[in-house]
């Protein structure tokens, strides 16, 4: 068979039986990156880059979310805008069930019992009969920097209005060249443990007189990208969101060799970015043992997902949430109980587990019209 020909006529379709993994073990796969050193894919998002990530999300989520509500529909011009992502197991089905109602706009006025929302196109609407207002409007790091003296803040180009980068820092937000004795760990939006570990290692190398780290600080250009991103309307939701790039970049400064899975070929990038793969050669025997153990656990997770359907039940159970059409044919073996058909709804209503140690629970409830084979209808309910 001609390979190029077969590739030409091949097409993609939805996998009827995908395997499942915890979210973080699906993302950050090194084998997805092009050959050569890993370049930063975060920060500024081009329209083409945005479309690619939106396409990826649609494939993985399975819809463009139009089925949920028009406010969360991922169609039209939004597909060229930097994508916004969030995680929740229950949110989407609560929208479908109308237990969460989406309103697009900004709150322009509020009183005890009424708020007014303007959508930016001159339309306003009010919501009244309010029990509580929760402001999930984000975390602002600026207020917690007030302990720093004014002259230091000035040197660090403090910008209180910049949510993502209130301080201008070098080497992936760890330290400023002008004040090399002041270090920051995890000081960026949505930091990962792996990156924080690397930032701490970098600072400790820098402060121990490591020449490579000092050179990295001297030659650093990440601060320029950071300052540009402050004003960039096409800034990514997580402007330092390229976990693989950050880990690889620090690993190269710190001369840490990434550990490859035992079966992989040399010179290949493969597997998921995981902190235990980035141990310095100076790591203590006990950290090395721990890292080995962690990688073995993760390996077992991958293999039981691939070969034993692990997490499929978890994914399916989550997706049961909500109200379903119910059509059931009942063929009774008891003469005293009628055969017939039941048409109605079956509801899976989430609630906190009533048994300790359980992850998820629903109240199952069905109701409908039962039509016995001998005629007539009656309403039926079951919990």
């Amino acid at each position: 068979m001609n390979l190029s020909r077969s590739r030409l006529i091949s097409s993609q379709k939805k996998n009827p039986s995908p395997t499942f993994l915890p979210l973080d073990l699906v993302n950050y796969n090194l084998s997805w990156r092009p050959p050569g050193p890993i370049e930063n894919t975060s920060g500024h998002v081009t329209p083409e880059g945005a479309q690619m990530v939106h396409g990826f999300m649609e494939t993985y989520i399975g819809t463009d979310q139009t089925d949920l509500s028009k406010e969360i529909s991922m169609t039209g011009s939004v597909r060229s805008e930097p994508p916004l992502l969030a995680c929740s197991d229950h949110y989407t089905e609560f929208i479908r069930h109308k237990k969460i109602k989406l309103v697009t706009g900004k709150v322009t006025r509020s009183s005890l019992n009424t708020i007014e929302i303007a959508d930016g196109f001159g339309n306003t609407q009010t919501i009244s009969d309010i029990a509580a207002i929760v402001c999930a409007t984000g975390f602002d790091a600026s207020a917690s920097l007030s302990f720093l003296p004014g002259d230091i803040l000035e040197k660090l180009q403090f910008s209180p209005g910049s949510d993502e980068f209130p301080l201008a820092l070098n080497v992936h937000s760890t330290v400023n060249r002008k004040i090399p004795s002041l270090g920051f760990v995890g000081f960026y939006r949505s930091p990962y443990w792996g990156v924080m570990e690397m930032q701490a290692r970098f600072l400790s190398a820098l402060w121990s007189g490591d020449s490579k780290s000092a050179k990295a600080l001297e030659d650093d250009t990440t601060i320029n990208s950071m300052l540009k991103l402050r004003q960039d309307p096409r800034r990514a939701q997580f402007p330092m969101g390229d976990y693989a790039y950050l880990m690889e970049s620090f690993a190269s400064i710190l001369s840490i060799t990434r550990q490859e899975p035992p079966s992989s070929l040399s010179d290949t990038k493969t597997g998921i970015v995981l902190p235990p793969r980035y141990l310095p050669s100076s790591a203590s025997p006990s950290s090395q043992r721990e890292a080995k153990l962690s990688l073995e656990i993760i390996d077992r997770i991958f293999s039981s997902s691939a070969s034993q359907g692990k997490f499929v039940a978890r994914a399916v159970f989550r997706a049961l949430q909500g109200i379903w059409h119910l059509d059931r044919k009942i063929s009774s073996k008891l003469e005293t109980f009628p055969s017939g058909s039941l048409n109605g709804t079956a509801s899976f209503l989430p609630r906190s587990p009533t048994e300790e140690g359980k992850d998820m629970e629903y109240l199952y409830f069905e109701e409908g019209e039962f039509r016995p084979s001998w005629g007539g209808t009656m309403s039926a309910k079951r919990r």
Binding site: T19, M57, Q65, A86, H90, T92, V103
Partner: protein, 70 residues
Amino acid sequence: MSGVETAGSLAFQISSAVNNPGESPFPEPEKYVVCNIVQKPVWVMPLFFPKDPDVEVTEGGVTTKVLLVS
């Protein structure tokens, strides 16, 4: 915590108040709805994701699992 997570948690607490056995922690929980005021649409990912949501179908009917490049 994002607005999505906050709204999801609130709706879950209300749903529990309605559907858990025993007395509800507040009266008439079934009458509550969470209004989430948003500016832009957001992709909402469940905590467990398919690893291989697409398959490639070739001429001979051979199906290979493919990785998508993010």
